[in-house]
């Protein structure tokens, strides 16, 4: 095969015309005064410019996406307030991470100054806050403390998730310290949160105060602003007991009243039975001998209505005939 390939290819030679054409092309391409080199350079610089533009665009897009991503990450979409007292509110982003933490009162600020919970997940953040609150003796050892967790969002599913994770966080922290607390879980809308912000209290506390106000209208937000959740809750309980007692008393009184009214009514209603029109003529025509009846004026008038003079008419008719 070697010899055959050699024999064939040895006979293949570059044609003179092909050689000449190539030489002409090369001369034209490589000559000093030809613009091909310049064109090449221009093309190169154009390519370089395009590359630069592309790099700049990529950089800008990446920068824009990074800023947008960071802004999205930092944007709270829901909140959770923890009231012991200290009152603390945590902002939660769409990835269930804490992006802001605010103390609603001095105690809340004290707790937050001792721990930075930003970028924590909800459970860990609540755990840490309750832990610090316990360390700083905001939680009573005797089990009288109430920890109120309030999810603040318009999405009920998200609220349930927040509450579940927060509840776990509280349980973990309390479990480590061997304390006992009452956990109160609730959720409010963002509208309620805004209202609470205006009053500078946590939404959870505002909801409790509103509950109390339903039972006792004399109570104001200002009075209970700095009260502990446990205090507000015990007041609510007391008021509820009081309200029940009052209600019972009222009911009993109403029952009594109801009974006396019934008796009186019976007395008043019984003597005046409705007179049956059929009986009236009987009473007039055949009065019982043993009863002294003083006939009512209407009854006495009835005999006058009875048609006595009919025979007279007949007589008249007969006479006419």
């Amino acid at each position: 095969m070697n010899s055959i390939i050699n024999e064939v290819l040895d006979n293949v030679k570059a044609e003179n015309e092909l050689k000449e054409k190539t030489i002409q092309f090369l001369k034209a391409s490589l000559s000093e005064d030809n613009t091909s080199n310049i064109i090449e350079f221009k093309r190169k610089s154009k390519v370089q410019f395009r590359k630069l533009v592309l790099i700049a665009c990529t950089f800008l897009v990446t920068l824009g996406l990074s800023i947008a991503g960071y802004a999205t990450y930092q944007m709270p979409v829901a909140y959770v307030s923890i009231d012991i007292n200290p009152s603390v509110e945590l902002g939660i982003n769409m990835f269930d991470r804490i992006v802001s933490a605010e103390g609603y009162n001095t105690d809340g600020k004290t707790v937050l100054s001792a721990c930075d919970v930003r970028n924590y997940d909800i459970e860990s953040a609540v755990d840490r806050i309750v832990e610090v609150a316990t360390e700083k003796n905001f939680v009573a050892k005797d089990g009288s403390s109430v920890i109120s967790i309030t999810a603040e969002t318009n999405d009920q599913n998200f609220a349930d998730r927040i509450n579940s994770m927060s509840n776990n966080g509280v349980k973990k922290a309390i479990g480590r310290s061997n304390y006992k607390v009452t956990i109160q879980i609730d959720s409010v809308s963002i509208g309620t949160r805004e209202e609470a912000q205006k009053l500078s209290i946590s939404p959870g506390k505002l909801k409790l105060i509103k509950k109390l106000q339903q039972l006792d209208s004399t109570v104001t937000v200002e009075q209970l602003k700095n009260s502990k959740v446990s205090e507000i809750m015990s007041t609510i309980k007391t008021k509820k007991v009081e309200a029940k007692a009052i209600e019972k008393a009222n009911k009993a009184e109403e029952k009594k009243k109801g009974a006396t009214v019934k008796k009186n009514n019976d007395k008043i209603i019984k003597p005046t039975p409705k007179p049956k029109p059929a009986q009236k003529p009987k009473a007039t025509t055949k009065p019982k001998k043993n009863l002294k009846v003083t006939p009512a004026p209407e009854i006495t008038a009835i005999p006058e209505v009875t048609p006595e003079p009919t025979p007279k008419v007949k007589k008249d008719k007969k006479s006419n005939e």
Partner: protein, 166 residues
């Protein structure tokens, strides 16, 4: 005419004289279209003359030319247009013997990756490691491509007359 122009013309002529036949032989094996052959000629020689590669020897320079020409021919073969459109240019195998002509015809029908090895191995006389280095592929690939090329030729032509040792 300036000295530099004269020098350039001399370089062009020397390059053409030296490698025109090699480039033509390779393009003959791969291309069936004269305008493509012209393209290959222009690009290969322009690249040679503009290149700043420092050749260690003439063998190195020739190997470089072979590699550039093969790559250029393969690029042209890969293009959709050439794959799907029949060329009106018809090549003629420059040998009178019918058997030899038929054998070469079969070589021409091989895949480009087999043809390049057949050319380099049988005509240029490179061994497998040299071919692998030149084509920037693993030696095993070169060995298997050479084996497959031979098997295909054997299958088409029959017999063992064309077998060679590595």
């Amino acid at each position: 005419m300036t000295d530099s122009t004269r020098e350039k013309d001399k370089m062009i002529s020397e390059a053409i004289d030296k490698y025109a036949d090699t480039v033509r032989k390779i393009s003959f094996m791969f291309l069936k279209n004269m305008p493509d052959v012209e393209d290959v000629f222009q690009e290969v020689f322009l690249k040679l003359l503009q290149s700043d590669v420092q050749f260690e020897s003439e063998a190195h320079e020739k190997a470089w030319i072979c590699k550039i020409t093969i790559n250029k021919c393969k690029d042209l073969c890969k293009s959709y247009w050439r794959k799907n459109v029949n060329s009106i240019y018809e090549y003629e195998i420059p040998v009178e013997d019918k058997v030899k002509s038929e054998l070469f015809e079969e070589v021409m029908k091989l895949k480009p990756e087999y043809k390049e090895i057949i050319y380099l191995f049988y005509y240029e006389g490179y061994n497998v490691p040299q071919i692998a280095k030149l084509l920037e592929q693993k030696e095993n690939t070169t060995y298997s491509n050479l084996r497959r090329a031979r098997e295909q030729l054997k299958l088409k032509l029959g017999g063992t007359d064309y077998e060679f040792d590595y």
